[in-house]
Symmetry: C2
Subunit: 301 residues, 2 copies
């Protein structure tokens, strides 16, 4: 069976794939039945009429050209492969913001040594976790272990050390902090709006390590401008990689911004693990097994 791979993978993983597939990297793709990709263009898809399975190396699948993927082609993502990396990042953002470490360290840097705003305690406080996939559920467990009263929001109930709700309002009302780890689908696009953020406390911390588009941009901008003690900390931006388009956020003192690096940017270790997991899932499929993380097409189209 022919497999199309459109990015560089470590030699030994390529050798492993070679035991199950004939790997092609370009040229004639007419006999390709499976693809291992990070991104995929409509042009590449058009060259693969026999394609039956797409294994994506990233966790998110929102960047695929879904309209061009025929309905009989199964698409598998790679959720969980870099969840550790993202959870650590989300907790760092949340705790440093909630404990006012960013606030005080920026003041100290400016030579202003005054203490003014209190440093609250997270233990016992309501914290919302939006999305209970690999990242959300691991973040929720870590926050519960620190003593927070965690509310988990998702479409489908999932058990864990949290109170489950499928109502966003219930998750955010009165919350001291929130972590957003929702995937971007047609159901979640623009889901978190001003009126939801406004249900949180005046000085709440909202952390986004999922996709920017899950949050309504104007709603986020309005809340940080209206509430100087509200902190919006995000690794993802609506402009995707052209960050200058979201510069009005970065100038605000109550915005903590990082340039889409939470997934282990530049970390060979994380990337290697992601490719390994993707290769393993692909081989499961090729061997007649049941691959993990197969997307629901109707979530995207």
């Amino acid at each position: 069976m022919e497999l199309y791979v459109n990015f560089e993978i470590p030699r030994e993983l390529e050798e492993e794939l070679g035991r199950h597939f004939r790997v092609v990297k370009g040229g004639d793709l007419s006999r390709v039945e499976a693809a291992l990709v990070s991104k995929l263009t409509p042009e590449e898809l058009a060259k693969m009429p026999r394609l039956r399975f797409i294994q994506v190396v990233t966790a998110g699948l929102d960047h695929l050209p879904w309209e061009h993927i025929p309905p009989h082609v199964a698409v598998a993502g790679n959720a969980g492969s870099n969840a550790d990396a993202v959870v650590e990042f989300a907790l760092g953002m949340l705790l440093a913001a909630f404990k006012r470490v960013f606030y005080y360290s920026e003041k100290m840097r400016r030579g202003d040594y005054g203490k003014d705003i209190p440093v609250p305690v997270l233990a016992g406080k309501k914290v919302a976790v939006l999305g209970l996939g690999e990242i959300g559920s691991r973040a929720a467990r870590a926050l519960a272990a620190l003593g927070a009263e965690v509310w988990g929001f998702a479409r489908t109930p999932r058990d864990g050390p949290w109170r489950f709700t499928d109502r966003l309002e219930e998750a955010l009302r009165g919350a001291y902090a929130a972590v957003c780890a929702l995937p971007l689908t047609k159901h979640t696009r623009g889901l978190v709006r001003y009126e939801h953020l406004a249900l949180m406390r005046e000085d709440a911390v909202f952390v986004n390590v999922g996709r920017a588009e899950v949050v309504d941009r104007e709603g986020a901008l309005r809340i940080v401008k209206e509430r100087p003690r509200f902190v919006f900390a995000s690794d993802v931006w609506w402009s995707r990689h052209d960050f200058s388009k979201d510069a009005e956020f970065f100038a605000l003192p109550n915005v903590i911004a990082t340039p889409w690096v939470a997934g282990g940017y530049g970390s060979e270790e994380v990337w290697r693990r992601m490719v390994e997991e993707a290769v393993r899932n692909l081989i499961t499929w090729a061997s007649g097994g049941r691959p993990r993380n197969v997307a629901r097409r109707e979530d995207y189209i």
Copy 2:
């Protein structure tokens, strides 16, 4: 029995004390046998010839005038009463520094959107925790739960999800990060020197939420100047509250500084819990029980 209290405590806690003691707040202290204090001066001590027990409301006891406390007077601290608050703060500092959140958010603030240094993963990495009291052991548990390989350093072995060592060199050698939560005693003053910090990785993160004086000031300054990727994040400073004397640290991009606020600065909730714990311990002593956190005099003199 007469009890001397030298700071404001909530009314209902004072009423509780009133059921066990005759509370005095000044004037004639000659019949005082116990004291509940935050600080204590040699002058106050001189007025209390019948003093037998001092309950301090803070966890640290290094600020007491030990030379003026007679050897027969027992001194109890309040370790653990604000441990939650400090642990959350230490984790926020450590994770935000280790995941390069400070680095990238400062860059974004300046309009520099370039990605350069990688964002590493903590899971699987060696992290040292110095001091295994309430704060150290809780921080160590949280780090172990995130998958870090935790090395716990203390004088006396304590079991937990860490490798114990009583050798500082062993704890720090090759470590990616360290949290210092040692008490300041005559044994720990100046304990962590340049040669110890230099055993850590080039880009390691050292977090101090204990007492500044445990770390040698010149050693810390030398390491952050020599190693631009080393991060020194601290809530405590050698100048204590006159932060301007340590300003040369705050100007460095690889120093994260906060103004001694980790213990829940300004948080009524934390303060209330501290006073409650101190009152409970004092009543245990007055009722003939065994009070917690009794200091070893020889650690200070």
